[in-house]
Symmetry: none
DNA sequence: AATGAATGAGAATTCATTCAT
DNA sequence: GATGAATGAATTCTCATTCAT
């Protein structure tokens, strides 16, 4: 009875807080370190030191040093993709959806440089990345875009003479390379301007129309 | 004296063959190994074994293991860029030049998967890459494209309302992501078709024109 | 006193069942694991997983990982030695006793391969083994044999010109090496035949008698 | 020509000196350490420290920490077996050969305690031992004994009613267990006495003959 | 130009064990 | 009696790189 009382008196915690706090500390420590160094030059010793926990604990919570990274990335990407899905709700028309998609993607790359760097520069190089869960989420992201393109084609606003996956690749590549210099050299991206420009090109091409 | 005589009797070789044969062997060995593994998992021991030379010799010819890679990449990129420059000679009009540029780039990514993989997946992740000679050559490549775009704008075939460097990024990104899946999963790229599709989108955009 | 009372109130169980069930689970788990791996490559984590209990519980019931093994071995050896003592009861004559001893020993090695392996291959290598309780029981076993030999010498059936402990060593060694190949390579031992052969040699030697 | 001269002027070295001196140092260091600790508790760091060489050098000369041990054991056993073969030359009669075999084996166990300990207590427990080169040499040793036994049976001095491999196991076991206590507790073995006693028992058995 | 030998420095991972609850 | 969380300590092996010759 006393126990029950005690429990009730404690602040209500959201369910997600049930993950071990040390796990969170470790993840946080990695994120922090990624701000300054690339993943490969971060040691598990460092991570544990920054996290203030024992090195072995990393291996309780994650299979691996790389497992840790993927867990962190997965969390992050999941959040991004689900946010994006939400953002796209209620938007009418493939055109507008693409705009939103482009804008949000740029926003994401702009916002969290740590993850952008990993995503755009590091992770592809990791052995096993293309079999990882992380990559599965990236595929969801790409699938989202493909759906929009297909919708656009079906509703007659996008051209039908080109394979939609090709279109998708162009868009993804365009977004990425738009952002890449800023990521690499640490500039800020003007989100609105960039998104507008990019969509302009995507929708109407680079030739001058008369 | 005997040696000299011997040399003179041999067929005349171009100057560039004067580089030490061991240097070439080493470079070749690395290229060979890169076919199967990524650079980081190739050891200097392996390189020297495959090359059939002493491990220490790597350090006679190159500053570093990474130096070796950059040398190899530099050779490769130099060749590509100078070929591309040549290819562009005599072509009239920004449109046609872009077509050529796109086609040649895809051709390059399609042709030598080893270097494509390194270029698109690995090298960006290397510490110091963006200060490397290799990157300088890549910048030449990008500059080439920028020149064409500027020409197009000046001659009024390309739209003027968008920053040419942005246009360039879109094109570079589009090319890259067009090729990426094939690189990653080992498909062959249909060069002509891909180049045509890509240029279609680039020139006229993805919306349906009436 | 209270404790005693409490005990009396509980349903009457045979004394040995009073050991904590978790203790038994742990011991059982170790035995199970020993079937496939050697002791050193079994981890406490594994043991607890197989036992279905918490890892820390091992340290409630046993001082040590090794302590656990010794406890398990001790149980086992105790049973064997007391059985052997029983078996020898009522047998008349040193010769017959030796036969029984040999037969029973082979039977034991034949029967439980897990313990044979440990006994013949592993345990001697453990630091502190020769000070362990387990070893004390093995010494009882050896003492049993020595008694028989002494009896045989006193009753005039065994030769008196050789130190009985030497005789004992020969017998123990002979038994062991008779069984060793089967233990190592997993054959079955033909108990009766082996025991007969062995005794033949022991009793009369390997030279041909005329 | 000059080179040749130079070579000839150098002191003649035995071929075996051609093994890298560092290799020898490492092997020696291990042997030294084995005097006090068992193999598993010796670290590579220690070995290299005692050897006065770099730790990594161990891995140049040997595949493994265990590989090092096996190399050392192999050397040792090879020497022993070839000595034994030599010792047996010129001896007539299976009986005398067995005597020699027994005497030499005890001598060997008596002489180098380090190796005896490993051989009798440690090595059997190593994963992969029974597939190792070391074990192959031990098999040669056992084969040598089997040959003698077979000779004895053929020439009618040994009994024919028992499988020679069984006889062999008895002899090997007897030798081993004769020596074991001395190995374990560090006594010295009285080689002649022990060999005589052992042969007595082996040849004529333990029963009193009238 | 070439090499055999040697090395410094690191770094990930494993595990038995302890402690607070 | 039982447990989840945490940890200290250790250790093998890898590899790029250097140096004397």
């Amino acid at each position: 009875m006393e126990k029950k009382l005690k429990k009730r008196l404690q602040p209500i915690k959201p369910a997600r807080l049930s993950v071990a706090p040390s796990r969170t500390k470790i993840a946080k420590a990695l994120k922090e370190l990624l701000q300054d160094k690339d993943f490969n030059s971060i040691t598990t010793a460092e991570i544990s030191r920054v996290a203030g926990v024992n090195e072995a604990l990393i291996y309780r919570h994650f299979t691996d040093k790389r497992g840790l990274l993927h867990a962190v990335l997965t969390d992050y990407l999941n959040e991004f993709v689900s946010n994006l899905k939400l953002d796209l709700k209620g938007i009418k028309g493939a055109i507008n959806k693409i705009r939103k998609f482009v804008w949000a993607s740029i926003h994401y790359y702009n916002d969290d440089r740590v993850f952008s760097k990993i995503q755009l520069l590091e992770v592809r190089n990791f052995p096993g990345y293309f079999e990882s869960e992380t990559y599965q989420i990236v595929k969801q992201y790409a699938a989202l875009l493909l759906d929009i393109i297909n919708e656009g084609i079906e509703t007659g606003v996008f051209r039908q003479d080109i394979d939609p996956t090709n279109i998708r690749q162009v868009i993804l590549g365009a977004i990425e390379h738009y952002c890449l210099p800023a990521i690499i050299f640490g500039h800020t991206i003007k989100n609105d301007l960039m998104a507008d420009n990019l969509c302009e090109i995507l929708f109407d091409g680079i030739t001058k129309k008369h």
